[in-house]
Amino acid sequence: MSDLAAGGEMQEETSGKVKKFMFVNRRAPYGTVYALEALEVVLISAAFDQDISMVFLDDGVYELVKGQQTQAIDVKNFSPAYRALDGYDIEKLYVDADSLAARGLTEDNLLVPVEVLSAAQMAELMDQQDVVIGF
């Protein structure tokens, strides 16, 4: 990521303050740039030592589907980056159960370990956050 360095510089200014950040991913990985640019924010946020979680709901669950092949649309397959989140200490990934079921998907179709939550559980989790950014 080109601006990881910029993220690092800011670290001193914000040291000590830890907030709960939630990034909500609701769109399919391709077709729009939101999923890719959401991932870029999440990776930068790792440099700030905050309490980060990612949520995947609606078509956002497709971002985590295994076996993505993008050659035919000439767009970079960025899905391997989700596997790298672990290395950035971003381990809280939550997926909406209804969104998976509605698309005929199960946890086995996903490329990273996630926690599957009901809508009510998801609402409760969102309620606990300090900053919620949706893409």
């Binding site: 990521m1 690092g8 800011m10 914000t14 930068i44 905050q50 900053v131």
Partner: protein, 119 residues
């Protein structure tokens, strides 16, 4: 209250930038402080001084510039999103600056509320 604003859509196509601006005006009128406005995704297109809307339409870019000047608001454009879309220092409107995504995260940390405008 110290507010952060995130604008995720470009001008004219989408209402996000208009609403964010109106929100900022209303917040300032109520005595709140705008810590920073961060432009991401197509929102970076709010920062180009090459924009020339018809005379009888609002000038979204200049409106942000004026607000920044009058109230000392930090208008920050994401560098990665900007470069992808051809937004560079040499075409930035007054009051805007290009910086990293870290500035968005820092806004979330420092502001009492981060308000997101977009779909």
């Amino acid at each position: 209250m110290k507010l952060g604003i995130l604008v995720n859509e470009g001008p004219y196509t989408h209402q996000a930038s208009d609403t964010a601006y109106q929100f900022a005006l209303a917040a300032l009128a109520k005595g709140h402080r705008i810590y920073r406005v961060f432009f991401y995704h197509d929102g970076v297109n709010n920062a180009t001084r090459l924009t020339e809307p018809p005379q009888d339409d609002r000038h979204i870019v200049n409106r942000w510039s004026k607000l920044a000047e009058e109230h000392g608001i930090d208008l920050v454009v994401c560098v990665a999103a900007a470069l992808r879309r051809g937004i560079k220092d040499e075409i930035l409107a007054k009051g805007f600056r290009i910086s990293g995504l870290g500035q968005l995260v820092e806004t979330g940390i420092q502001a009492d509320r981060l308000v997101v405008f977009g779909d």
